[in-house]
């Protein structure tokens, strides 16, 4: 039974080569602009719709795992999907594939375009872009805020995070992780109270 399962798994695995995995993710890395969630739509198109390598359900499940882990969502997705297709080596092929195009493109820009950064027109252009990015960060805060600031617990965590950052000036990574721990304990507290409540009523 188990032997049968492994052989059937191997057969499906054999259909997709490491080179195929690498090349697919290389193209995805080349095509996607704006990172993270913008990339998800293209990933889904390539893997679920066009190639049928994984199902929609698996895709969604891997998407949520990818966001649970720090770092670039696209790289995490590539790793998880590559792993599903061909194990750990498939995972590395996919991760390398998705990272390599941006690495090469950035190096080319860095080698040939950096001198032009001193040009006043280019500088004005980049200044405008950086102001838009300020607006974009605020926008991301707005989207997240609308989604998460809907209960007292989250508002409390958010304020605690802001105090850590503004007053105690802790490292941002520390503030994010502390919020995770705080959220965890507040949730447990709430669960305990909920569990204790019926007993008190009975007495």
């Amino acid at each position: 039974m188990t032997a049968e399962e492994t052989t059937s798994l191997k057969e499906t695995e054999e259909r997709i080569s490491f080179l195929q995995i690498f090349w697919t993710y290389f193209k995805i890395g080349l095509m996607t602009l704006g990172g993270g969630f913008a990339m998800a739509a293209i990933l889904r198109h390539e893997l679920v719709l066009k190639r049928g390598w994984i199902s929609d359900y698996e895709f969604m499940s891997e998407m949520s795992t990818a966001t649970l882990i720090p770092g670039a969502v696209a790289v995490n997705m590539a790793y998880l999907q590559g792993r599903r297709l061909r194990g750990k080596r498939g995972a590395l092929a996919a991760s390398l594939g998705v990272i390599l195009p941006s690495f090469v493109i950035i190096l080319l820009i860095a080698l040939f375009a950096l001198p032009y950064f001193q040009n006043p027109h280019v500088r004005a252009f980049l200044k405008g872009c950086s102001l838009a990015i300020a607006g974009q960060i605020a926008y991301a805060g707005f989207i997240f805020g609308r989604r998460y600031l809907n209960n007292i617990q989250n508002i409390a965590i958010c304020i605690a995070g802001l105090i850590l950052l503004f007053v105690f000036k802790v490292h941002p990574v520390f503030a994010v992780l502390s919020a995770g721990v705080l959220g965890y304990f507040l949730c447990r507290q709430k669960e305990k109270r909920r569990d204790a409540l019926p007993g008190e009523e009975g007495a």
């Binding site: 950086s130 607006g135 707005f142 965590i157």
Partner: protein, 175 residues
């Protein structure tokens, strides 16, 4: 060599904190590269990040490559890129099956909810930390605010990168 090690360490820290990737890496890079280490001036960093956002690929990876190159050349680019993806890849390498379990587990869900709110705090903080340095005049403030309201009002109808490009072109005429 020492610089490369420092660079690796800094970008590994950035890789650990970048939940949700992309924009969240900006305050982390600002803190490490401009604040703690003083490797780049804010304007240099902001320019590199703007380019990083306009080129294909994950923003965190692009930014690491670019900032690493600017600080320590080709070796710097390689080291920073490797550093920024290493935390995620090692977590996945050693614990992917564990994470599959934690994800559906309520303890994981509780931790994650708090984490997302932590990212929210970070975004609020970054709006100030990044915005207060980037904005140097009233007209620049209006431009940043304009970008914000455009994104909010046209949510989902416009790709954010178009807003960035539009502000860049406006900048050429205004600044």
């Amino acid at each position: 060599m020492r610089l490369l090690l420092q660079l690796f360490k800094s970008f590994m820290i950035i890789g650990i904190g970048a939940y949700g990737g992309g924009l969240v890496t900006i305050p982390l890079i600002q803190h490490e590269v401009v604040g703690t280490r003083g490797w780049l001036l804010f304007d240099e960093m902001a320019s590199l990040l703007a380019i990083a956002q306009m080129t294909p690929g994950p923003i965190a990876v692009n930014a690491a490559t670019f900032v690493g190159f600017r600080i320590a050349g080709l070796a710097g680019a390689a080291v920073a890129t490797f550093g920024v993806v290493l935390p995620a890849l090692s977590i996945l390498f050693f614990g992917a099956s564990l994470i599959d379990r934690v994800k559906t587990n309520r303890h994981g869900a509780m931790f994650r909810e708090g984490l997302q709110v932590g990212v929210l705090s970070l975004l609020f903080y970054a709006t100030w930390a990044y915005g207060s340095v980037a904005v140097g005049s009233l007209s620049q403030f209006f431009m940043a605010a304009g970008a914000f309201f455009t994104l909010v009002l046209l949510e989902g109808k416009i790709h954010p990168i178009l807003v960035v490009l539009a502000c860049g072109l406006l900048g050429v005429f205004l600044f």
